[in-house]
């Protein structure tokens, strides 16, 4: 009988710590702090429960990124706070914090000076629904434009997700030239909320795709971007003072041939068609204008500086 009691005690003692502690769990939460034309700053909070109900290690980082950097590029990081948070096991309403370190160099004045835009404009829900977000891979697309390539996030941005199935698009917002996606992953032990900056060139193209009209008047199509841009410059230079055409170049994908060419179109085509000014503008330009659909339009080609 004594042996049975002793064994029972040993079993109880051995199992007690397992039952009294939770699994190790960490959370990473990023929030937007500010941006300028070329960069942005994120506040990253990391909490680690250290496998305890009553203790948590908390760190806060300032991460500064270049906007056109690859997703996997490491930011310039400054640790702002390093704390351990304790909850009293006897009375969980009581807590205390031990501060291990605190950055004393980075001032709020510095941040505001570096990142003048302190707030993002959220996309309305209806607009967010136009994005196609794959929960397994993180692939994000708007029409033909890829914002984030499949699996580019996994491993590169999210520490704890090796395989898909748990990604969630929480929010989409913009500053003056870039879209920011807030994406989360979570399982029982880990939760990460990360911000992804979509480079300015892609953001600009999404804006262009969003405002596409179904029909455009085309002044011609070319095999190369260079040829198309050269003609745009020529037409704009030779146009009379009375009419300065608003010409843009789109790359156009032809699904029947699998080829891409470059079409010069009048940006305000819809307005001209509506006002029945098709013929007048054709004469002013001295070129034959052909109506084309925008179904194959892929990328708005930006006219580089001379």
């Amino acid at each position: 009988m004594n042996i049975i009691l002793q064994l029972a005690c040993i079993v109880c003692l051995a199992s007690a710590p397992v039952q009294a502690t939770p699994d190790r769990a960490t959370t990473i939460h990023e929030t937007f702090l500010g941006s300028n034309a070329t960069g942005y700053a994120i506040l990253r909070k990391e909490n680690d429960n250290l496998g305890s109900y009553y203790k948590e290690h908390r760190t806060t980082w300032l991460d500064e990124y270049q906007k056109d950097a690859e997703i996997a590029t490491k930011p310039r990081s400054t640790q702002l706070l390093d704390q351990t948070y304790f909850t009293d096991p006897e009375d969980t309403t009581h807590s205390s914090t031990t501060e291990h370190s605190k950055d004393t160099k980075t001032t709020l004045g510095d941040i505001i000076d570096r990142y003048q835009q302190l707030e993002l404009i959220p996309w309305p829900l209806e607009q967010t629904k136009e994005l196609h977000f794959d929960k397994n891979t993180g692939s994000t697309e708007y029409k033909s434009q890829c914002l984030v390539a499949a699996k580019a996030l996994l491993g590169a941005k999210f520490r704890h997700v090796d395989s898909g199935g748990a990604l969630e698009l929480l929010a989409v917002a913009e500053d003056s030239n870039c879209i920011f996606l807030t994406i989360a992953t979570s399982n029982d032990e880990e939760r990460e909320v990360r911000m992804i900056c979509i480079p300015a060139a892609i953001t600009r193209n999404i804006h262009a795709l969003r405002t596409l009209e179904p029909l455009y008047l085309s002044a011609g199509s070319f095999d190369s971007e260079k040829e198309a841009l050269a003609l745009v410059r020529k037409l704009q230079a030779t146009a009379g003072n009375s009419y300065r055409p608003s010409l843009v170049v789109w790359s156009v994908f032809h699904s029947d041939t699998g080829k891409t060419d470059y079409a010069i179109v009048l940006a305000n085509s819809a307005e001209l068609i509506k006002r029945n000014e098709f013929g007048t503008k054709q004469d002013l330009l001295g070129m034959h204008l052909v109506p084309i659909t925008s179904e194959g339009f892929r990328t708005l080609v930006i006219n580089p500086p001379h």
Binding site: T107, Q116, E119, I121, P122, P305
Partner: protein, 343 residues
């Protein structure tokens, strides 16, 4: 009544104005929530105004720190009247000028390709307030926005200064005047001076609702953050979760009488196991038919009781008749004064 929900554009307009190449003529004041804790919150306030010939702007940014301890904005004889009329506000306790900068903007000939040249002169850059110290003071950085369904009950009127949620005033004319100007002028003049108003955002931290309002004219644009101190927010939560109908045990002229009745019924209902999830509440009922306030004693979770066909049973057990009343005119959930609830 017209409810406007717009995107927060002030930041972009501010940034865009510097890049657009056109002279800046409008003064802007932009407030933005920075962080909060249970007893206070911090706002970043930026003021930008044209300087000289319109190619120069001066921009100043402050860290404004407020206490959430309620301050009476204007007096009303009854507590519930002060809550209903939004007569409580938060108080600015400190304001620190973080940055004072002039931007000299000169047009660039090739506007398509290069950003305009902007020269920056820093007049002051405060070097004491560290990010870490502000984060320690205000650890809550994100507000939870209200859902569109919940925000649907917000009301504003182009012809008045007030913004309401159901029967509760969130922002009164007095509050608008205090924060946005026009203290000594009538409503019509204030409305004209402020220009078009929009509600940009409504969101909350652990105990306060924050409402962001923009008012704009061609000359001046202001975006201000209004805090509903905890007692106002508590009532907003009560209104938000209010049922459309309640079983009423009586309507009283005096609050004390209603509270006495409610205490007696609370003791009874607490001892009935079948109704352990139910409780008794007292609501200020601003009946428009009588143009006065009554105090209505009601049973909460009424709809569950009706669905379970247990109204008669409850009437019998409480020994009181229960009438079904609409909650349209309920404005303030009355709380027991400290020490009166037997706890």
């Amino acid at each position: 009544m017209k409810m406007n929900y717009i995107l927060i554009l002030a930041g972009l307009l501010g940034a865009g104005a510097l890049e657009a190449g056109s002279p800046i003529r409008r003064t802007t004041v932009e407030e933005q929530f920075f962080g909060s804790n249970p007893s206070g919150y911090a706002i970043l306030r930026s003021e930008t105004e044209p300087d000289g010939d319109g190619n120069t702007t001066r921009s100043k940014t402050w860290l404004d720190e407020y206490t959430k301890t309620p301050v009476v904005l204007y007096n009303h004889p009854k507590e519930e009247g002060r809550i209903r009329n939004g007569a409580y506000t938060s108080k600015l306790v400190s304001s620190t000028l973080l940055l004072d900068i002039s931007y000299d903007q000169r047009s660039n000939d090739n506007v398509d390709s290069l950003p305009p040249h902007t020269a920056k002169t820093v007049h002051k850059q405060e070097a004491e307030t560290t990010m870490s110290s502000v984060l320690l003071r205000y650890p809550t950085r994100s507000l939870t926005p209200w859902s569109p369904e919940r925000a649907r009950d917000l009301r504003s009127d182009d012809g008045s200064l007030f913004i309401l949620y159901k029967c509760q005033t969130l922002v009164s004319g007095q509050a608008i005047r205090a924060r946005m100007g026009g203290m000594n002028t009538g409503d019509a003049e204030v409305l004209q001076a402020l220009g078009r108003r929009t509600i940009d955002n409504i969101a909350e931290d652990g105990n306060c609702v924050f409402l962001t309002i923009t008012a704009a004219t061609d000359q001046r644009k202001q975006t201000r953050v209004f805090c509903m101190v905890p007692m106002l927010t508590d009532n907003l939560h009560a209104l938000s979760s209010m049922d459309p109908l309640y079983l009423s045990a009586g309507r009283f002229d005096a609050k004390d009488e209603a509270l006495r009745n409610a205490r007696s019924l609370s003791e009874k209902i607490a001892n009935i196991p079948e109704f352990s999830g139910s409780g008794i509440q007292v609501w200020a009922d601003d009946s428009t038919a009588y143009s006065r306030t009554f105090y209505c004693v009601v049973v909460n979770h009424t709809m569950d009781i009706i669905r379970q066909q247990r109204v008669s049973m409850l009437e019998r057990l409480l020994e009181t008749p229960l009438l079904l009343v609409p909650s349209d005119s309920f404005s303030v959930l009355i709380k027991e004064p400290p020490g009166q609830d037997g706890k």
